[in-house]
Symmetry: C2
Subunit: 137 residues, 2 copies
Amino acid sequence: MPTQTDCERLLREAGLRVTRPRVSVLSAVHAHPHADTDTIIRAVRQGSGVVSHQAVYDVLKALTDARLLRRIQPAGLVARYEARVGDNHHHVVCRGCGAIEDIEVSLDLAGARRSASRAGFAADHAEVVVSGLCRKC
Amino acid sequence: MPTQTDCERLLREAGLRVTRPRVSVLSAVHAHPHADTDTIIRAVRQGSGVVSHQAVYDVLKALTDARLLRRIQPAGLVARYEARVGDNHHHVVCRGCGAIEDIEVSLDLAGARRSASRAGFAADHAEVVVSGLCRKC
DNA sequence: GGCTGATCTTTACTGATTCCAGTTTATGGT
DNA sequence: ACCATAAACTGGAATCAGTAAAGATCAGCC
């Protein structure tokens, strides 16, 4: 888990200004993988005082655009964020409680791209969402 | 494309009552694959007069539960419905305009299930969403 | 034809997310 | 260090898909 200084460095390296909300959001997401926006807002406020919900939304968007975060949005659930970027892992989602975990899935990306291009699409990204029940549900 | 009589039969076979809104919704989805709820509502009203939006939502849910329809919901887009059920094809989504097409993707489902179970999940379903740009975008 | 629970209609509401207008703050150039 | 400007932030209100509730209707069965 990155320290606050690490988060500041990550922001700077991404060409983003370093602000208190940004550092807080970034470290909150590191601390709570797959958390939804509301959880992140609460974590940020606990860690560093008053931050408007709008600021959190803006920051999440900015960090996602800057590829410091990845947004995942399973069907029927609110958006979640994770700090693990740069690899292409996938997710399992619990149909009962919405819990999410990372999994590895092997996928014929070239074939998918070929099939997409046959349908008239230039595809560049594939995401697998596996669903089922977690241990508790 | 099924006729109205076919739709009635499909409903009956699924153990559902045959009503005007249900027949309309089912044939609207057959006529507009990957349509969103709003499009379906408009198509239904054009075809068969006044139907409340709530009825359409209810019918879509009932038909989806009865496996006559399949609901797909790509990240960040509203829910779509398609009448092609019973196989497990996947989708490409255009990041520009939200257009959706069917594609074939080969996927190591057993491996995915194994990886999910390692994470504590009993997985029973996997969906691949490929994204990119369609010809127009 | 009459019964009964499933369906529909109407209307209101929820909750996530976004928009907007105005204010504050960080950063690059001097 | 100082200024100007672009980027961020605040707080409130709007939007929009989807859900809820209550009463009116209707399909399927006798």
